[in-house]
């Protein structure tokens, strides 16, 4: 009942005309960002953080704007999957399998509409799940001491590569780089300078927003140029929508199953949206059996992964909000936004900033409804946007990113840092070092070090405190499993995902 009360208060925050406007703007921008190949949700949210920041928006409005962008990007990802056979982001990959064949058969509009409905159901159910689960987890997390937190942060890194991760050592390297960057600056506890080399600008450390924009947006620009992707892609044209109630009812059970599975995958560490959509697709194929025509444009093959990945995206907010430990790239960027607004996520968030959290959760409901309403009638406009060639789009995106960074403190030095991180991001991606752990390292570094010190101060230097409680032993066990399991299960899962895609391509060719 308490939860319901809070939620109602949240709606009171989210439904003010101003915040409704921010939710709508965010939803539109997010859909556009998600739809354009190569931009992706993490990138999009990253570019918009400095803007939301320098506009001086109140915390709740900034959060509502950016969570709507996040939700919108998840919706947008499907558009390019269906029309171009290119996923706008990784989780949208499975949508290509049946979405593109549907479009080839002249049923692009139906595929888009069904995926919009599936996305809506997935997000809606997952947000309900978030409302139920988050306060429980937050209460439970109050038992965590500094030792448990230290283990939990380690777990976040260990599972970040995901169960399908290729080279876990590279995830560890990336995490170390991020954590090392986080140690630059004046040490908060002792006032010692660390790695500042007497450069005044480094005293406060390296701003992670600059790093995020550089690593994502600038390196993306370099990749576009290297791949000569400036001309854009050939796309399937859009037909007139012809969708009956029967079609919707046919995919409804699929949506429900996909949502539940996706939500669970989103909440669990190391699974994430990609696995969520993969699992819902494969399960649906098994359940429907021979009567389905998966891979050849079965609407259920569009609905399952879309419900799954949207549910997983919202499910991933549960650990991010309650523990301060994000499970994916985009939630890591959302965490960056919270920290830069001076809000420390974690169990206390639900008691100290109740109004804010519930406002954001309510905004997710509102944003979803706006997205569904936008995405069915206005799909034509979003599709038109896809025909803007990247050769004009990417330079303008780069401009918007640079302006945002410059606007934070009017300092050209920040821009040089951004360019430097862009180069670093390009090199790391070329060497298959994932970028998300670098960012997460920069974000979690200070808290992680603080919990280590805190734990060791309590125990007076006895390191065994780190694994002295049952809870922390459990967390360490999961962390180790997260690091080791991909070596055992990863190859099998990866082969299956690749096989599913190959089948799809052989049909298309």
């Amino acid at each position: 009942m308490e939860t319901l009360n809070f939620l109602l208060q949240g709606f009171a925050v989210a439904l003010t005309p101003e915040n409704l406007m921010f939710a709508a703007i965010g939803a539109i921008l997010g859909t556009v960002i998600g739809a354009l190949p190569g931009l992706g949700p993490a990138n999009g949210v990253a570019i918009l953080i400095p803007l939301a920041f320098s506009l001086g928006l109140p915390a709740s409005s900034a959060l509502i704007l950016l969570t709507s962008v996040y939700a919108g990007a998840m919706y947008g990802g499907r558009i390019s999957s269906i029309l171009l056979n290119i996923p706008g982001d990784e989780p949208a990959m499975m949508t290509c399998l049946d979405g593109y064949p549907m479009a080839l058969k002249g049923r692009a509009a139906e595929a888009l509409a069904i995926s919009a409905i599936a996305s809506f159901i997935g997000s809606l159910l997952a947000t309900v799940g978030l409302v139920i689960l988050a306060p429980i987890l937050a209460k439970f997390a109050l038992r965590f001491g500094p030792a448990e937190y230290f283990a939990l942060f380690t777990l976040a890194f260990a599972t970040l590569g995901g169960i399908t991760g290729k080279n876990q050592v590279k995830t560890v390297v990336a995490a170390c780089l991020g954590l090392m960057i986080a140690t630059v600056g004046v040490d908060i506890t002792t006032g010692n300078q660390r790695y500042t080399y007497d450069i005044l600008e480094l005293y406060e450390g390296v701003d992670f927003i600059i790093a995020i924009v550089g690593l994502f947006a600038i390196s993306e620009l370099l990749f576009f140029i290297e791949m000569h992707a400036g001309e854009g892609f050939k796309k399937v044209s859009l037909n007139k929508l012809n969708l009956s109630m029967k079609d919707i009812i046919q995919v409804l059970p699929t949506c429900l199953r996909g949502s539940v599975l996706g939500f669970i995958a989103g909440v669990l560490p190391g699974a994430g949206a990609s696995l969520g959509s993969f699992l819902s697709y494969t399960m649906e194929k098994k359940i429907v059996g021979k009567s389905g025509y998966f891979g050849e444009g079965d609407p259920r093959g569009v609905a399952a992964p879309e419900a799954g990945n949207n549910a997983a995206a919202n499910g991933a907010l549960v650990p991010m909000l309650t523990l301060g430990v994000p499970g994916s790239g985009t939630t890591a960027v959302l965490l960056a936004m919270l920290i830069s607004l001076n809000i420390q996520p974690g169990p206390m968030l639900f008691t100290q900033n109740a109004e804010l959290v519930w406002g954001v959760i309510a905004a997710l409901f509102v944003g979803n409804l706006i997205l569904l309403l936008l995405n069915i009638p206005m799909i034509g406009i979003f599709v038109k946007l896809l025909s803007i060639p990247p050769k004009y789009l990417m330079p303008v995106v780069t401009l918007v990113a640079s302006v945002g960074i410059f606007a934070i403190s009017n300092s050209p030095l920040d821009l040089y840092f951004m360019i430097g991180f862009g180069l670093l991001g390009y090199l790391l991606r070329k060497l298959h070092i994932p970028l998300v752990p670098v960012i997460l390292g920069m974000l979690l570094g200070p808290e992680m070090e603080k919990s280590l010190r805190h734990a060791l101060t309590i125990s007076d230097g006895d390191w065994t405190i780190l694994w002295s409680s049952g809870l922390s032993v459990g967390i360490w066990a999961v962390a180790i499993a997260g690091l080791v399991l991909p070596y055992l299960i990863g190859p099998v899962l990866r082969r299956r995902m690749a096989a599913a895609q190959d089948r799809d391509h052989s049909i298309v060719d």
Partner: protein, 148 residues
């Protein structure tokens, strides 16, 4: 193979230098405690060092690296971004942006005229949007002298 090996060497060096500097941190005011400013960096240094040795021993297959010409192209793009930054305050937002966006469009394969058009267009739109609608002041630069 070679890519990961080079990476391994660079990271190993980084780990050693980083760790060595951490060990050299002056003792904090008020005496040393169980955990000081150097504890966490030392852990990181060890973890990174071990990981980089793993990379040296078991490197992955190499990604295809671009040819010299493409590397020069990418370097040029970074240079353009740096020139944009350099011009931003003294010369002003609109000329700097026109140059940056225009050249980037051109290098991505657009024809010169549409490139210039995109450059000028985005510069003016973003400038007006920021200065008048969002009230964030971008540097006017030289235009200030003529426009007041």
């Amino acid at each position: 193979m070679i890519g990961d090996r080079i990476l391994g060497v660079v990271l190993l060096l980084l780990a050693v230098v980083y760790g060595w500097e951490a060990a050299m941190f002056p003792e904090p005011f008020g005496g040393s405690e169980a955990v000081g400013p150097e504890t966490f960096p030392l852990i990181l240094s060890v973890v990174l060092g071990l990981s980089s040795i793993y990379l040296l021993v078991r490197p992955d297959e190499d990604e295809e690296w671009p040819h010299m010409k493409m590397l020069a192209e990418l370097g040029f793009v970074l240079l353009i971004l740096a020139i944009f930054t350099l011009m931003l305050q003294p010369v002003g937002f609109i000329p700097a942006t026109t140059l940056m966006v225009g050249v980037l469009c051109w290098r991505m394969g657009a024809k010169p005229l549409p490139s210039v058009f995109t450059g000028v267009g985005s510069a003016v739109v973003v400038y007006v949007l920021f200065n008048f609608l969002l009230e964030l002041h971008l540097p006017a630069g030289l235009l200030k002298l003529s426009g007041g």
